[in-house]
Amino acid sequence: MSDQPLFSLRNPWFGASVGITAAIAVLSAVAGLIWLPLAQPNLKLAGVWDAICSAAGVPRAAVQETGIKPDFKTSNVVMTSEMLTKVNQVSIGRGATLAQRCAICHGPQGVSDAHSPNLAGQFAAVTYKELNDFKTGARVSVVMSPFAAAMSDQDMKDVAAYYAYLPRVPSNNLDTGRPAPVIVVTGAPMRNIAPCGSCHGDVDNKAGSPWLGGQSAVYIKAQLEAFASGARRNDISQQMRNIARQMTADEIDQVAHYYEAQP
């Protein structure tokens, strides 16, 4: 037996097993790569080679041209979880100087009662993204847009670094005993709303999601309503618009007051 050859055509097992395997492979390839794609009326293939490429998953030029462009600007910032997380003293120093012109609304310490967002302690990536969106027109504000228009990319990074460096200050409405609304903790699965806390802190924090604790309730509410109505649309992939549209007016009110009361 041991002198019986294995890899030889004289061994019937060799011929049969290789033959059967190859036959199945070839037949399934012909069916999967040629016959089935050609049999599909919607694919509009130019021929056999085109069918093979399409079924093999080769990206095809024709597909790329059909994207529909929106008639408004969208954010061009690419968010990553590590973006602007490295502290740079020089940048903070420059940011402190640049931020003097912001102080009238956002407060000298990054906190104010003017219902404009409190920036002290905000993630740098968040501040940077918003400034960028104001500059490109993805987010529009009569007050902020002219400021951002004049800023360079480095200016925006510096200001963002400075505000991230400032300590968070609790608002006057601080009330840590306030129970968290259901929507913050569990979301509303049937309306496709993830828990607010799964991105905005508490449960988890996701890249680009601002820290909401201590923000003015008026401001939070205005933003959620703007997302819901489509007046604001610089959220990447409609992350917030999809949520805000599904929220009830009551829920918006609850979360606005809840987050205002958080540290």
């Binding site: 390839a29 999967g32 790569l33 794609p37 699965p189």
Partner: protein, 541 residues
């Protein structure tokens, strides 16, 4: 003759301890996401638990069983001491330490990526390093099985390798090759990102590599069960194996076609072309063949045993089987679960039907029925059969064993049938929370509750199982005699070289891998701009 009993017992004990812990997590998961539990826990704990449960049940437990059983088979069937005993202990410690290394970050919440990894989620590097250690430990076992096989063949030219050993080596070779996919994914894609050397990852390619492992790993889990069907069951019920050659062909078919079919796990993924999905489906259809052969051969072997005991009639012989024998009972229950699970599998493997069950609870129901049910119940049987030989003590709590096996079967049916059903209703898998008060979900509440109750029955059965083994460690002393495997109806004197070696089958396995995976992998590697930023799990808190 079993010589390295401590080595084998260590593998089995560690396996069952891991199993016991993971079982508790499983029952907890069933409970917290059911209507029995009012919402009051951090959902992140659920994902920690699923990661730990899945990694333990999927990677550690069956690997240790395959290794321990493999060493037992080597010594018992080749009738000589295992070559490479020291290496075997090294492998064991690698698996044990790897399991601990992986579980620490998981329990700290630093690696809740689920056992399928699925980039761009990336967790703590030690989780992946631990998994790699488990795999490397098992590769030592693969090398030892092949070495012992080759040495025995050299010493016994012209003689057929005993079936149990042949099947065991088939399983080890299959695992050796199939683990390569996940190893490539971890070493070249995930670890560089987890260690902070890179911040982007090609998630599509990673999933293709994982699918390379994901299908055949289930056959690696399955092979100890099939070995038990073929080589323990007929002997235990006093019969003979219907056909030795049929058994070899089944294991060979697993080696050749179990691996190059993994893309059926990516039917819903965009990065693989439809043509390759079709090719993988065709070969997936083929892999049903060895299972059908096995069911036929095992039923035929049971019939032989029954007729030897005086069983008569076209179906009357079924009643004459030794039903009070735990191995008989376990095998029969296993085959029933295999039948139901196999029917579900046919649904999963068809492109269109899969779309309706993809990522629903149907899938978890399905693999618990096949893996937790049909496969694991035979792990119990293997342990029951082997225990007296490992401990040199009698294992005679037969009533307890039968109760345990029945409870496992009933628990599994009660757990998985409603689990499948809610999947058809659209309940997604891998979610910590379901709002059963919601009218759209409330019809699922009853089924999920039943499922959770089934989970507790399983937990009870698992505890009983451990109890039987512990009692076995303290039973009356007695020599169990040599450990033997079933004898075939016709003892092969000479068999074709193809049924006694693996060269040809390995060549076909690798060849088919190249045909079925070569282009998709090469194309994804060649495409630019396919990487996405990693999402670090547990970061930023």
């Amino acid at each position: 003759m079993l010589i390295n009993k401590r080595l084998i017992a260590a593998h089995f004990w560690l396996a069952f301890i891991v199993f016991g812990v993971a079982l508790v997590l499983g029952a907890w998961q069933m409970f917290v996401r059911s209507p029995l539990n009012a919402w009051h826990f951090n959902p992140e704990f659920y994902y920690r638990s699923v990661t730990a449960h899945g990694s333990a049940m999927g990677y550690v437990f069956p690997t240790l069983i395959a290794m321990g059983f493999g060493y037992a088979i080597t010594e018992a069937s080749l009738e000589k001491e295992l070559v490479g005993r020291r290496w075997a202990w090294v492998g064991f410690f690698l698996v044990a330490v790897g399991a601990v290394v992986a579980m620490i970050p998981v329990s700290l919440g630093l690696a809740s990526v689920l056992y399928t990894f699925y980039p761009p989620m990336v967790g703590n590097p030690f989780y992946y390093i631990g998994v790699v250690m488990v795999v490397v430990g098992s590769w030592i076992w693969v090398a030892l099985m092949v070495t012992n096989f080759v040495i025995w063949k050299r010493e016994n030219p012209g003689k057929p390798v005993p079936l149990a050993m042949y099947a065991n080596v088939a399983g080890s070779l299959l695992w050796g090759w199939t683990a390569v996919g996940a190893a490539l994914e971890i070493l070249f894609q995930i670890l560089p990102v987890a260690l902070g050397l890179k911040s982007t990852i090609d998630a599509g390619l990673a999933r293709v590599f994982f699918s390379w492992t994901l299908h055949a790993i289930v056959y690696f889990w399955l092979i100890p069960t099939y070995i038990a069907y073929y080589t323990i069951f007929p002997r235990a019920i006093g019969g003979r194996l219907f056909s030795d050659a049929m058994a070899r062909i089944s294991f060979i078919l697993f080696v050749v076609v179990a691996m190059p079919i993994g893309v059926h796990h990516l039917f819903a993924d965009p990065q693989v072309g439809a043509g390759f999905k079709f090719m993988h489906s065709v070969f997936t259809g083929l892999v049903a063949l060895p299972t059908l052969l096995t069911v036929f051969t095992i039923c035929a072997s049971a019939e032989i045993a029954s007729r030897l005991r005086g069983g008569r009639g076209a179906f009357g012989w079924i009643g004459a089987l030794p039903w009070s024998n735990p191995i008989m009972l376990a095998t029969a229950l296993s085959l029933v679960m295999l039948g139901f699970g196999g029917a579900g599998g046919l649904i999963n493997m068809s492109y269109q039907l899969d779309a309706t069950v993809h990522n629903t609870q149907w899938i978890t129901g399905h693999f618990h029925l096949i893996f937790g049910g049909a496969i694991v119940i035979m792990y119990f049987a293997i342990a029951y059969d082997l225990w007296p030989h490992l401990t040199d003590r009698a294992l005679d709590s037969f009533g307890l064993m039968r109760t345990q096996l029945w409870l496992w079967f009933i628990g599994m049916i009660v757990t998985t049938f409603p689990w499948h059903y809610v999947g058809i209703l659209g309940m997604p898998r891998r979610m910590a929370y379901y709002d059963y008060a919601n009218p759209a979900i409330s019809p699922q509440a009853l089924s999920v509750t039943m499922s959770a109750i089934g989970g507790f029955i399983l937990l009870l059965s698992g505890l009983l199982f451990l109890l039987v083994l512990i009692r076995g460690q303290f039973g009356a002393r007695g020599e169990a005699g040599a450990y033997r495997f079933a004898v075939p109806l016709h003892m092969p004197e000479r068999i074709p070289v193809a049924l006694n070696s693996f060269g040809l089958w390995l060549a076909l396995m690798v060849g088919l891998t190249v045909v079925n995976y070569g282009f998709p992998i090469a194309q994804l590697m060649a495409l630019n701009e396919t990487s996405v930023p990693a999402v670090y799990v547990g970061a930023g808190r």
